[in-house]
């Protein structure tokens, strides 16, 4: 069924370009996987700015730097390099609910996460798919415990996130059909963590009362080299690792030492690989969240200074 409200492409359907390097296996064209140059406990650099959308009550933009390839044999076209993470978030409200809505003693939070069509290697559709809805539900869970909802009865607030550039689930070179490609959508974890941090900044920018500012953090157990069968890393970039065994994302409130959302997936506590325990993984995710919390607080301070300085 075609979408009659949008301009659709050729009816015959189009294919994403296939690069010859994807399918050839000779060594001369081999491209190396990007390597993690950070220490295991170092996060990527984060850029966070509020007030990008003046027409909304609150807004924020978050960017994580792309991992740089160390080898000189980098792909020439930008479309083949790995991407960072770019998110924009707008908050609309609090505003009165429509007359038809039933009475609510507290604020009704609705979240909406959407990938831009050009956000990932595979072109995204215009309608939200199940993974985007799942991200929205996780985000809502993370934020619901933070907002003091009783202060706005009969009102609603909408948090809308547009993912301009998403984290990749794996290195594109692994697409070539060889090796073990796990079905895990590991990129989603980093995306969700970024969504939580950026939404928190936008909610603070909108002036909605919260018990604390929540921030997201990711930790992962990745397959190591040599005698270290597995390594625990903070803020993993899926394309830099051959295999991710398990990952955890938390939404953490440092002021109250509370977690509002926790999502762990993968193979934890694998004896053969001497992988870390579930507790270690969650603790490290909290450490990552603390790191992004510092950036968040600095960005909000900057906003506050600007707002106070102006008026």
């Amino acid at each position: 069924m075609t979408d009659r409200r949008r301009i659709n492409g050729p009816s015959g359907g189009t294919l994403a370009p296939v690069y010859s390097k994807y399918i050839t296996k000779d060594a001369s064209t081999q491209i190396q996987r990007p390597v993690r140059s950070r220490a295991p406990n170092v996060l990527r650099k984060m850029f966070l700015k509020t007030g990008v959308t003046p027409s909304a009550s609150g807004s924020a933009y978050l960017e994580l730097e792309a991992s740089k390839s160390t080898n000189t044999n980098t792909p020439g076209l930008a479309s083949l390099s790995t991407s960072g993470l770019k998110l924009t978030c707008t908050v609309h409200g609090p505003r009165p609910l429509p007359k038809s809505a039933p009475f609510s003693p507290h604020i009704i939070l609705s979240t909406h996460v959407k990938y831009a069509p050009f956000a990932t290697r595979k072109r995204r559709g215009y309608l939200r798919d199940s993974s985007e809805r799942d991200l929205g539900v996780h985000l809502e869970t993370a934020l619901r415990g933070v907002i003091i909802g009783d202060r706005w009865p009969k009102s609603g607030v909408e948090v809308i996130i547009t993912i301009l550039e998403g984290e990749e689930d794996q290195w594109w070179g692994d697409d070539r059909g060889r090796g073990h490609v796990t079905a895990g959508e590991w990129g989603m974890m980093s995306v969700l963590s970024g969504c939580i941090t950026v939404a928190s900044a936008a909610i603070a920018d909108a002036g909605i009362d919260c018990v604390d500012v929540v921030s997201g953090g990711v930790a992962a157990v990745v397959k190591g080299q040599g005698k270290n069968a597995s390594v625990l890393v903070l803020d993993p970039v899926p394309s830099e690792h051959e295999e991710i065994l398990a990952a955890a994302i938390v939404a953490y409130l440092p002021g109250r030492d509370e977690i509002t959302d926790l999502w762990v997936k993968g193979d934890i506590g694998n004896k053969e690989l001497r992988s870390s325990s579930y507790e270690e993984l969650a603790d490290n995710a909290v450490q990552a969240a603390l790191g992004s919390h510092r950036v968040l607080v600095a960005a909000l301070k900057e906003t506050a200074d600007m707002k106070l300085g102006r008026s």
Partner: protein, 344 residues
Amino acid sequence: MASTTPQSSLSFPRETFAKLSPHPYLLAHLQPTSATSKPTRANGRSPKQFRQPHVNNGSLTHAEGSAVVRIGDTTVVCGIRGEILLASNVAGYRVDKSSVAPSTRPGYNEAKELDLLVPNIELATGCSPAFLPGQPPSTLAQSLSTRIYSLLHSSGLIDGEDLRIWYQPPDLSDQDKMDEDDSDAIEPEVKAFWTLYIDILFISLDGNPFDAAWAAVVSALRDVRLAKAYWDADREMILCEDTLSESKKLQLNGLPIAVTMLVFRAKEQEQGRDKKHWILVDPDTFEEGLCDESVTIVVDCGSKKTKILGLSKAGGTIVGKDEMRDLVDLAEQRWSQLSQLLSR
């Protein structure tokens, strides 16, 4: 009694005045009481002053071309992705000989016939409280997409040749060269086409969506770098090379720029033939809500003579032949300002 000052109870702060009676509010700005002060709009600009544009290219990784255009508080991101349409997937497209291909027919717009340009505008990104996600595209989003689509085709901005992927079949009849005249050398054939998916997302909307969206499209198209694509006869598929040196940029015909202007009338209702009006260029959301008559001119002043590629006027009867001339002059001014940014 003496303590109550009637003035204080009757005056509002500016924002309240603007919300309660927007039309007199803007009128009061444009009709200054003292003769010395110049008429300014509520946003502080003079009626014929455009907002300062900012353009940034190539910031998206997964797009073949991209642009971020900011005009005042309106911010647009445009990302263009190229995908491949096989000629065999096009119903009724003859691929056997280039000399009989439809593209040789005069007046044939291949990009349009085959739908090779797919522009879509997304307003439901939370860019404005008026357009929230969860609903199908709003009427404005649909009409903007259609206007961009038709302007892309009518302006002839993209050369159809840039989108074709040719294949030269090897001459296998070389060994047994029977006839000397060699009249039917094997002609190259079009195996596939690049299809450009042009997605325009509004990050922030404060009026004048069409000008910003069109500027973003043109800027992103100038940034597009298509990989070298060829037909691999063994695998029977199109393959691409990812080297930068072999990729090529699109050759655009000219640099059209859209300029929108509004007509603000002193009288809110249509009363008599009162012609007191102001031309407001590059309107913001507040002004868009107060004016009925709008003019959009698409101009290209790249060559010596100014080309008008599109002209649309809706609502109202103020702008006539003479006024339109002035508006085109304004559009030329805007072109010289914006083209410097876009042609970098």
